[in-house]
Amino acid sequence: MSEDPRGSFEGKHEFTVIGQPLPKIDAWAKVIGETKYADDLFLPRMAYGRLLRSPHGHARVGRVDTTRARALPGVYAVITGADLPRVRFGILPVSQDEEALCTEKVRMVGDAVAAVAAVDEETAERACRLIDVEYEPLPALMSIEESLAHPEVRIHEYGDGPNVHKNVSLQFGDIEAAFARADLVREDVFFFEGNTHLPMEQHAAVAAAGPDGKLTLWSSTQTPHYVHRLLAKILETPAAHIRVVATPVGGGFGGKLDPFAHEIAACRLSQLTGRPVKIACTREEVFYIHRGRHPVLMWIKTGFTRDGDITGCHLRTWLDGGAYGSYGVASTFYTGVINPVTYKMPVYKFEGARIFTNKPPCGPKRGHGTPQPRFALECQLDKAAEQLGLDPAEMRKRILAEPFTKTANHLTVTTIGLGECIDRVVEASGWRTKWRGFRSEGASTAPSEPPPEPGRAGGARARTRRGIGIACSAYLTGAGTAVYWNNMPHSGVILRADRSGGVAVLCGATDIGQGSDSILAYLPAEILGIDPKDVHVHPADTSLTPVDLGSYSSRVTLMCGMAAIQASQRLREVIAQAVARKLEVEPGALAFRERKVGVAADWERAVPFAQAVELAETTHGVLAFAGSYAPPKRAGKYKGGGVGPSPCYSYSACVVELSVDEETGEIELHDVWIGHDLGRALNPLLAEGQIEGSVYMGIGEALMEGQIFRKGVHKNPSLLEYKSPTTLETPEIHTFLVETDDPEGPFGAKEAGQGPLLPVIPAIANAVYHAVGVRCDEVPITPEMILKGLELRRQGRPARVGPARIPVFTFKAPVVVESAFGQPADAIAVRPFQP
């Protein structure tokens, strides 16, 4: 067997399944309404649960009296924290700070304190209102500044200081020397408002405890394995007696990655009532569950030569973490560590701090921690390009990182298709003429009376100006380390061939709409020469499927894909041996295609696949093969070096064209061009879908999505008040797939589901500047901000809208490490679990 897990498939590009725009294997069930999401499960004798949530942002919990609730007819059980083992939990081992039902303190509006199971939802809801909770309110700290200003009010007792969850500082090379070498040094301050995932499916879970003490949980989760592990701890029930099934997820985007109160309460209520219990969260509750985009304040200082090269970069980030740890330690690192992957950045310093506040906890939303600094860096590049008199597209092309090298912070980068991404979007958008053309109309350079845009269909808007902007980005294809330390596979697949010629794939991966089930059918089908329809995928059931860590960090296609390839190759080898014996040829001479196995030159004698399986089963016994994958171990050898490494990075370039109405401040997007280096498109249709969805989500974050709190209360916890783009605000998206055939990925594939969100936000901000000369250093960019910028311009002041101050805060003394910039990449390591 070949050393390279892609074995003999490398370089051979006549694929039959890979690269085809096939429908997803689950598309048919989805279009007829047959797919069963968690809330679609109805079990016999099932009870309905509700959670009672805190109306206070911060309070000590006193007596919880459930007497009246219990007395209500139709109520089966009422529980409080006292009915659960006294354990704290959290997704990261370093942040064990949550309780399913709070016993001592609530830390945000929406923290759960009690739960009810009843004959129906209405009764459960009514019972919740009959629970009497004594609260002793504490001051609610609603911003980074407030939390730092009030160390006497401690939200948590742990962390790196009063209300400081995490304080990190890393330095690679001599940053002051780097600035001294520069012709231009810019310092800018940016703010990125927090926003939420808003999956269309609200979280739901059904738990069924048996009289034998075993427990099954069906849940809309992206991480059944982590939920499984944590349930065992939280419920003090052996993990071997718990089964977690991830139902098809109706949108995740990172919002279904933690274990949640409703899942835990459903389990406990089921144990107590002896009935299956369903808890389906309301939309408002989903806003409290959150774990979304951190609001981040950023200060960024970068040195440039007059040609546009970066001499060094120093970034500081302050994250508003909300009430709990969640993935926040990782989020904090992610606001810093991915920046050096895109451009040549020989020296880098990063300081980050995550502050607790009494708001719903932030966590990993699509792009996890990286869209915020990406916004800062790409807007700053735009400003520097202008000062240096450079075309921002050309400047970026000049400073692209080198493939197969290391970054300043010791990350190994493999293939980089960003240059081609830039070329494609520059070409397609007509960048060169538009960038010069719109500008020569004087929109941003001559503030007095620039000519209005020529009349556009449907709008007699005289004061509308066009602009075009560009930005780039990079993102990881799977985190290099698991959330808990271990040396086991990150992903596993079992492949079973049966005599029908069908193949079953068992894998713990969770399809959240991205198409992981389909990928798990395509890869074996390609390798075994059968149709994806012949493959039956059984995902995400902890008692049936090998562990996959979950649908996060864009890891599934790569990691499950590599495991599936390994299992398929093992199966293929055994089948090949059996067929070779029959045909009296060498196994290596056999081709697998068209549901047959045979020698290409003598295809008439090829054996039908089902018969080939029979031959192999006759000699080998049952045909079940496992494949395992763990990413190469490339953690930087310094404290904190575990966050950032990934088998490979995807790259994106984005151009946005828009108009700004100078009277109303309204922005209308016309077109988005996005080029994305995804290594290889295993299915171009699905890849495009991921990219389009990412662009859309970036647009929402750039222009409208934001969580607003007033007096400790979430002001917009509904789909009406929390604005997100509809068909009318989403422009035409032109996608260009760039293939670099990365040696780390399955058939060369990298990620496509998160990275393309990143450049959209700064590209919009840069286009707004191009249109009206207003620098919006804060998102979402609202009409009020534009009008304020225009007013400043009229007054002859700098037309910049954004944060003015940074917090008074002392970062840790940095971990100082030599820059690894430009060193050759770590070898494509021989992975563990190789045959």
């Binding site: 725009p21 429908p23 997803k24 689950d26 598309a27 048919w28 069930a29 989805k30 279009v31 007829i32 309404g33 047959e34 797919t35 069963k36 999401y37 809330d39 679609d40 109805f42 995932h197 808003l198 999956p199 269309m200 499916e201 609200q202 098809p248 997820v249 109706g250 949108g251 995740g252 985007f253 309301t282 939309r283 959240i512 709409g513 991205q514 198409g515 249709l685 699905l686 495009e688 879908g689 389009e692 969805g693 990412s694 662009v695 859309y696 989500m697 509904s718 789909l719 009406l720 997100s724 509809t726 068909t727 009318l728 989403t730 035409e732 998206i733």
Partner: protein
Amino acid sequence: MKARLSLTVNGEAHDVLVPVHKTLLEVLREDLGLTGTKHGCELGECGTCTVLVDGAPVLSCLALPVDLAGATITTVEGMAEGGRLHPLQQAFAELGAAQCGYCTPGILLTAQALLADRPSPTRQEIREALAGNLCRCTGYTKILDAVELAALRIGVPR
């Protein structure tokens, strides 16, 4: 207070005994087992729960069955005829217009009503018709493409 009602859903008559304030969404999902109809808010804000009542899109989370005696209700389960998918369903599957698929039933039915009204809508008309249906996965691009393809196929039957 409960009411005994007769509802015609996907061509079948159903007699149900339900509390008068129970929504059509709940009755479809809980009493008739038609879980193809989804919900994203239950407040009339997302379009996910859309069904057709006498051919017109209606938010089932706001509709009360007591008002619908004699009406003809279509859910996503009723779109395929005799095992043959509606051209919209076919096009949505082929073009990847359903990612997580959660918004799909509501969007399919809204689009069906549009095409019944305007057999060859412009892209802008499709955008306007679907403006009340949120989708968080697709960026709407493949959805618009799929409605266009279905319209084309309905116009020129294959």
